[in-house]
């Protein structure tokens, strides 16, 4: 089996973190002059970009809804994002599934009834994948939606947790993800304490599940604290000036 020591005798993981520690987070808003909202988000070595357009005219006739906005989500991984170069498969199974899952997450949060017969596009691209890409994309999309000024019930935060060798771990990186243990991506609305996305791979006993679920919730709260701390300043800047990278 694996010769990698996922948890050292001192209790440290492969990258030196504690089991309940989330990776270092960095982000930037308003990168693209053309998009209504955009965000660049880093969680450890995972780097993603999100761009939001809307509410704008529906591109596919017949798809527009008379009483609310439709949300169009596209998740894709850049060909250079993984260790080996991927063949550019935008429509592969995994990307489509993640796109659908993220769309459902945001459909429950965005106040779509305010903009009937329009479309809100959320594009997410993974620039560097090191585990937890769908969670990082959800966080990036949340930030991009805030940048675009699209009304939401709450700020969505997402974090994954898993279990390796009987130890519950928060925010798995690629090495830990590939270990074959269970992976539980979770997205919550931190202020309302509601879950808007819950997925799980592999198998867990009920007791283990409770533990891993709790770790994921704590991870989400940690991420929320980090994002919240800087966002108030960013909002100040948004209101006073609009700083762009380009």
């Amino acid at each position: 089996m694996s010769k990698i020591e996922f948890i050292s005798p001192e209790g440290l993981r492969v990258d030196g973190r504690r089991p309940q520690e989330v990776r270092k987070i960095n982000y930037r808003l308003n990168l693209f002059s053309r998009a209504d909202g955009s965000a660049y988000y880093e969680q450890g070595n995972t780097r993603v970009l999100a761009a939001v357009y809307g509410p704008r005219q529906v591109t596919r006739r017949g798809a527009s809804k008379h009483d609310r906005a439709i949300i169009n989500c596209e998740y894709s991984m850049a060909t250079f994002s993984t260790g080996e170069r991927r063949k550019s498969a935008k429509r592969d199974r995994r990307s489509t599934e993640i796109s659908v899952v993220i769309r459902q997450t945001f459909e429950s949060v965005i106040l779509t009834h305010l903009y009937p017969r329009t479309q809100i596009d959320i594009f997410m691209q993974v620039l560097q994948a090191d585990g937890g890409t769908r969670c990082a994309c959800i966080n990036a999309a949340s930030l991009a939606l805030i940048d675009a000024g699209i009304p939401m019930r709450d700020f969505v935060v997402s974090c994954a947790a898993g279990m390796i060798d009987g130890v519950a771990l928060t925010d798995l990186n690629y090495i830990e993800d590939s270990a074959g243990g269970p992976d539980l991506p979770l997205a919550i609305l931190p202020k309302q304490n509601k879950i808007c996305l819950l997925q799980m791979d592999s198998k867990l006993t009920i007791e283990q599940y409770e533990e891993v679920m709790q770790m994921a919730v704590e991870g989400c709260k940690q991420i929320h604290a980090v994002l919240d701390a800087k966002l108030k300043d960013v909002t100040d800047q948004l209101v006073n000036k609009r700083k762009t990278l380009l």
Binding site: G37, P55, P116, I150, P151, R153, D154, L231
Partner: protein, 249 residues
């Protein structure tokens, strides 16, 4: 409704609770409870008043409303807004105008001061107009008009002196909604500072578009650049930037 007054003029994020509905049991309080008026950016969700955008909570003493001041690029139509629009096509007796909203706006061909069926402006796709929004409903197409409103002087469109109507020559730049609101503020220094350097005419649309014209086309370019750069600079930076830009003039 119990509003947390300490949050006024602070930055809020989506989901932040601004106030809660207070169920008053005593009858003497019922008469004293004033209805709380809310504006954009705040919504009532399950008995709590919640911020739904990122912005600063403000209280407007004139309209006595609580609202969220935010800055975004996408324009959402509101009645009474002045907008700079581009004619897209003529549909029957109206023009279809692009004002930046999800759906194009309709402008009646006779919606100009002094216009009649025989006497109306000849507008082609690509022409610019300055108009005000008369119908803005989430379920309907927005409607605009170039007729003068209560506060503006009424001049026939032929004279070219009307506030609303076709905009000839010049150039349109896009800016954020917050920037256009700031430009429309009577205390805005930027137009005065630019006016010190050269003469120009501008129309600011609340849809994030600013039309600028001047006699010399080089001046138009300089002013457009000045407005674009001023979005990222503070007051001192703006002064420096204007001096550098207009130095060669």
């Amino acid at each position: 409704m119990d509003i947390d007054k300490s949050l006024i003029n602070t930055s809020l994020l989506p989901g932040d609770i601004v106030g809660t509905v207070v169920q008053s049991t005593s009858t003497e309080n019922e008469g004293k409870q004033q209805p709380v008026r809310i504006g954009p950016g705040l919504t009532l969700l399950d008995d709590t008043l919640v911020a739904v955008k990122a912005g600063k909570l403000r209280y407007d003493t004139l309209t006595k409303r609580y609202f969220l001041e935010n800055n975004q690029k996408r324009y959402i139509c509101a009645v009474g807004d002045m907008v700079v629009g581009t004619i897209k096509e003529t549909v029957g007796e109206s023009f279809r105008v692009d004002i930046g909203t999800a759906h194009s706006a309709l402008l009646d061909v006779t919606g100009f001061d002094g216009a009649s069926r025989r006497n109306r402006p000849d507008l082609f796709p690509g022409d610019l107009i300055y108009a005000r929004v008369t119908v803005a409903n989430k379920d309907l197409e927005p409607e605009i008009t170039c007729l003068s409103s209560q506060g503006t002087a009424r001049r026939d469109w032929i004279t070219g002196q009307s506030v609303f109507g076709p905009l000839k020559h010049g150039f349109v730049i896009n800016c954020s909604l917050g920037m256009s609101r700031r430009l429309l503020d009577p205390n805005c220094e930027l137009f005065k500072q630019i006016g010190d350097k050269c003469s120009f005419e501008a129309a600011v649309g609340m849809n994030g578009r600013v039309w600028i014209t001047s006699e010399d086309s080089r001046d138009i370019v300089l002013i457009s650049n000045a407005l674009e750069y001023s979005q990222h600079l503070d007051d001192q930076g703006i002064e420096k930037m204007l001096n550098t830009l207009f130095k060669s003039r």
